[in-house]
C-alpha cells in the first residue's frame, strides 16, 4: 500500500469519526433559521449562544448538570475506597481454599450481568425503600456498578508494585495499613487516578439506571434530561445540541488526560496497554 493511500484512509476514518460530532456543535451554535438551510452549512453561519442560554438558564439543564456531577463524584469516591481496600487484600494475601482467586472472579462476574437484568429488581427494591427519584438511589447503584471495575483494575496495579518495598516498611515497624498508605498508595497513584476517571466517565454517561430510577427534575441526570427532549414530539434541536455539547466536555478532557490507561480500563485489565 502506498504511503499516500495510507494517509488518505486514516484521514477518511478521522472525518467519519469527527464530522457527526462537529455537526452537532454547529447546530448548537446556529440560529433556528440556519438549521434548515440547504446546502447544509458546515462552516458559513453566524454563531449564536442563544441555545446555550435557553438550555442552562431558561430550562433545567443546569440543574441536571449539577445532579450528574454530584452523583458521579460521590459514587466514584465510594467505589474507590471500598474497591481499593479489597483489591489490596486480594493482591497481597493468599487466602485458604484459593479464596482470593475465587473472590476476584466472582467480583468480576457481577459486572457481567446485563444492566436490564438488575434494573428490574433494583427498581422494585428502591420503590420498597422509598428511594425512587432520589440522588441517593443513583449513588448506591453506581457505586456497586463501578466496584468490580475498581477491584479488578487496582488489583492489577498492586500486583505491579514489588513486595520488597512494603516488607521493608513492615520490618521498620509500620503496620500493614500504614505500609499501604505510606508506601504502596503513592506508587499506584497514577493507576488510582486512571481508575477514578473511568468511574467518573461511566457514571456520567450512564443512562438505563438513571432512566428507570429517576422521574423528576429533583434527581434527573443530564443524559435523562436530554433524552426527555429527544423523544418528545416537538424537538428543540438547538437546545438539545447545546446540552449534548456541554455533556461531552468533561468526558473529552478526562479521556485525553488518561489515554495511556485507556485500553487496560476498557478491557477490564485483560489487555495491558
Amino acid at each position: 500500500m502506498s504511503r499516500a493511500l495510507k494517509y488518505f484512509l486514516v484521514v477518511v476514518a478521522l472525518v467519519a469519526a469527527l464530522a457527526p460530532v462537529y455537526w452537532m456543535f454547529t447546530i448548537s451554535l446556529k440560529s433556528e433559521v440556519d438549521h434548515f438551510a440547504l446546502p447544509p452549512p458546515w462552516f458559513n453561519f453566524t454563531p449564536t449562544l442563544e441555545h446555550y442560554f435557553e438550555a442552562f438558564v431558561a430550562r433545567s439543564f443546569g440543574q441536571y448538570l449539577i445532579t450528574s456531577a454530584i452523583v458521579a463524584v460521590i459514587s466514584t469516591l465510594c467505589a474507590l475506597v471500598l474497591g481499593t481496600l479489597a483489591a489490596y487484600a486480594l493482591a497481597r494475601f493468599r487466602l485458604p481454599y484459593d479464596l482470593d482467586r475465587r473472590l476476584s472472579l466472582w467480583i468480576l462476574s457481577t459486572r457481567m450481568f446485563p444492566a436490564i437484568v438488575t434494573a428490574v429488581p433494583l427498581f422494585l427494591m428502591m420503590r420498597d425503600l422509598r428511594l425512587l427519584d432520589t440522588k441517593a438511589s443513583l449513588i448506591i447503584v453506581y457505586t456497586a456498578f463501578n466496584l468490580p471495575f475498581v477491584v479488578w483494575m487496582m488489583r492489577g496495579f498492586f500486583d505491579e508494585v514489588p513486595r520488597d518495598l512494603e516488607e521493608a516498611a513492615l520490618v521498620d515497624g509500620d503496620s500493614r495499613l500504614g505500609a499501604l498508605v505510606r508506601v504502596v498508595l503513592p506508587l499506584v497513584a497514577p493507576g488510582l487516578a486512571a481508575t477514578a476517571v473511568f468511574c467518573l466517565i461511566v457514571s456520567w454517561n450512564e443512562f438505563l439506571f438513571a432512566l428507570v430510577l429517576t422521574q423528576t427534575d429533583a434527581s434527573m441526570t443530564l443524559p435523562v434530561g436530554i433524552a426527555g427532549r429527544v423523544t418528545q414530539y416537538e424537538i428543540k434541536w438547538g437546545v438539545m445540541s447545546a446540552a449534548g455539547a456541554v455533556a461531552i466536555v468533561p468526558i473529552l478532557v478526562f479521556a485525553m488526560a488518561m489515554q495511556k490507561y485507556l485500553v487496560r480500563g476498557l478491557s477490564l485489565g485483560a489487555v495491558k496497554g
Binding site: 437484568v117 456497586a144 456520567w204 433524552a227 429527544v230 468526558i251
Partner: protein, 288 residues
C-alpha cells in the same frame, strides 16, 4: 519474616474485602434472587407461567431475532473495520498519537449524546446526510432512515459501528504493538509474502486480543439498549425492538414485572453461555 507478617495479620484481608463483598451481595446477588421470586409469580399465584408464556410470545421471539441480527451485523463490521484501522496505524505513520486520540472520540461520548448526534445527521428534513445527498442530486424523498421500517435497523447498526469500531481498533492496536519483532524477522528471512506473514505470524499472535475484544463486544451487543431506545424507541412499529427494549417496555410501560424478570433470565443465560464459549477458547489459546 514474610510468614510471620502474614500470620500476624491473618484477619486483615477479610476485614478489607468484607465491605466490598457486602455491597455486591446487596446490589447484585440479592436483586437476582429477588428477581427470581418476582419471575415465579403471575399475579398472586406462584408458578412457571411467565416462563411458559415466553415460547408462545411472538414479540419475544421477534425481539430475539432482532437482537441476533443486530449483534452479528455490528460485530462483523466493527471487527473488520477495527482490525483494518489497527493494521493501518501499526505502521510508522506521522502523527499516530494524534490520530489514535481523535479516533477515540465516538466511543467516549455518552450514549445519549451519540443519539443526539445521529438524530441530527439522519434527520430527513435538515440532517447533514440527506442535505449532502440532495446537494449532489439524489432524491432523498424515501430516505427517512430511523423512521422507515426498512432502513431503521440498518441505521441503528450503522450508529453502533460508528461508536464502537474505535474500541475494537484500540484493543487490537495494543495487541499488535505487544507482538515482538523476532517472528517478523524470521518470516522475512524465510521469504514469506506479506499475506503469509499476516496469516501465520500476526493473526495467531493477535488471537488473545481478538478473542477478548470479540467477547466484550458480543456481551454489549446482546444487551444493547441505550442507542436503540434513544434513536428509535424500538420502532417504527417493532422494527428495531431488541430483547433489552422489550424487557424495559414490559416492566416500565406495562408494569408486568414478573414477565420482564423471566425474560431477563433468558438474556442472562444467553450471555453466560456465549461468554463461557469465548472463555474456553481463550483458555485453550493461552495453553497452546
Amino acid at each position: 519474616m514474610r510468614r510471620k507478617v502474614l500470620l500476624r495479620s491473618s484477619w486483615l484481608p477479610y476485614v478489607l474485602i468484607a465491605p466490598a463483598v457486602a455491597v455486591l451481595v446487596a446490589l447484585s446477588i440479592y436483586p437476582l434472587i429477588y428477581s427470581i421470586t418476582v419471575s415465579l409469580q403471575v399475579g398472586e399465584v406462584w408458578g412457571l407461567g411467565n416462563f411458559t408464556r415466553l415460547a408462545s410470545d411472538g414479540f419475544f421471539l421477534t425481539a430475539m431475532a432482532h437482537t441476533f441480527v443486530y449483534a452479528v451485523a455490528a460485530l462483523t463490521c466493527e471487527f473488520l473495520l477495527g482490525l483494518g484501522l489497527a493494521l493501518l496505524l501499526n505502521n510508522q505513520i506521522r502523527g499516530r498519537g494524534f490520530f489514535r486520540a481523535t479516533l477515540l472520540v465516538p466511543m467516549m461520548l455518552p450514549p445519549v449524546v451519540a443519539a443526539v448526534v445521529w438524530r441530527l445527521m439522519l434527520n430527513p428534513n435538515f440532517g447533514a446526510i440527506n442535505g449532502t445527498l440532495k446537494q449532489i442530486g439524489i432524491d432523498t424523498e424515501s430516505l427517512t432512515w430511523t423512521a422507515s421500517p426498512g432502513l431503521a435497523m440498518l441505521s441503528v447498526i450503522a450508529v453502533d459501528v460508528w461508536q464502537w469500531t474505535p474500541f475494537v481498533f484500540l484493543v487490537l492496536l495494543a495487541g499488535l504493538q505487544a507482538i515482538p519483532q523476532e517472528p517478523y524477522e524470521a518470516a522475512l528471512i524465510d521469504g514469506s509474502s506479506r499475506w503469509q506473514t499476516f496469516r501465520h505470524v500476526t493473526l495467531p499472535l493477535l488471537k488473545p486480543a481478538i478473542l477478548i475484544v470479540l467477547l466484550l463486544r458480543t456481551m454489549d451487543l446482546l444487551r444493547v439498549f441505550d442507542q436503540i431506545f434513544l434513536l428509535t424507541e424500538g420502532g417504527p412499529g417493532f422494527a428495531t425492538e431488541t430483547i433489552s427494549l422489550y424487557i424495559y417496555r414490559t416492566a416500565f410501560r406495562f408494569f408486568d414485572f414478573g414477565y420482564a424478570a423471566a425474560m431477563s433470565f433468558v438474556l442472562l443465560a444467553l450471555t453466560n453461555v456465549i461468554s463461557v464459549v469465548y472463555i474456553r477458547f481463550l483458555k485453550h489459546e493461552s495453553r497452546a
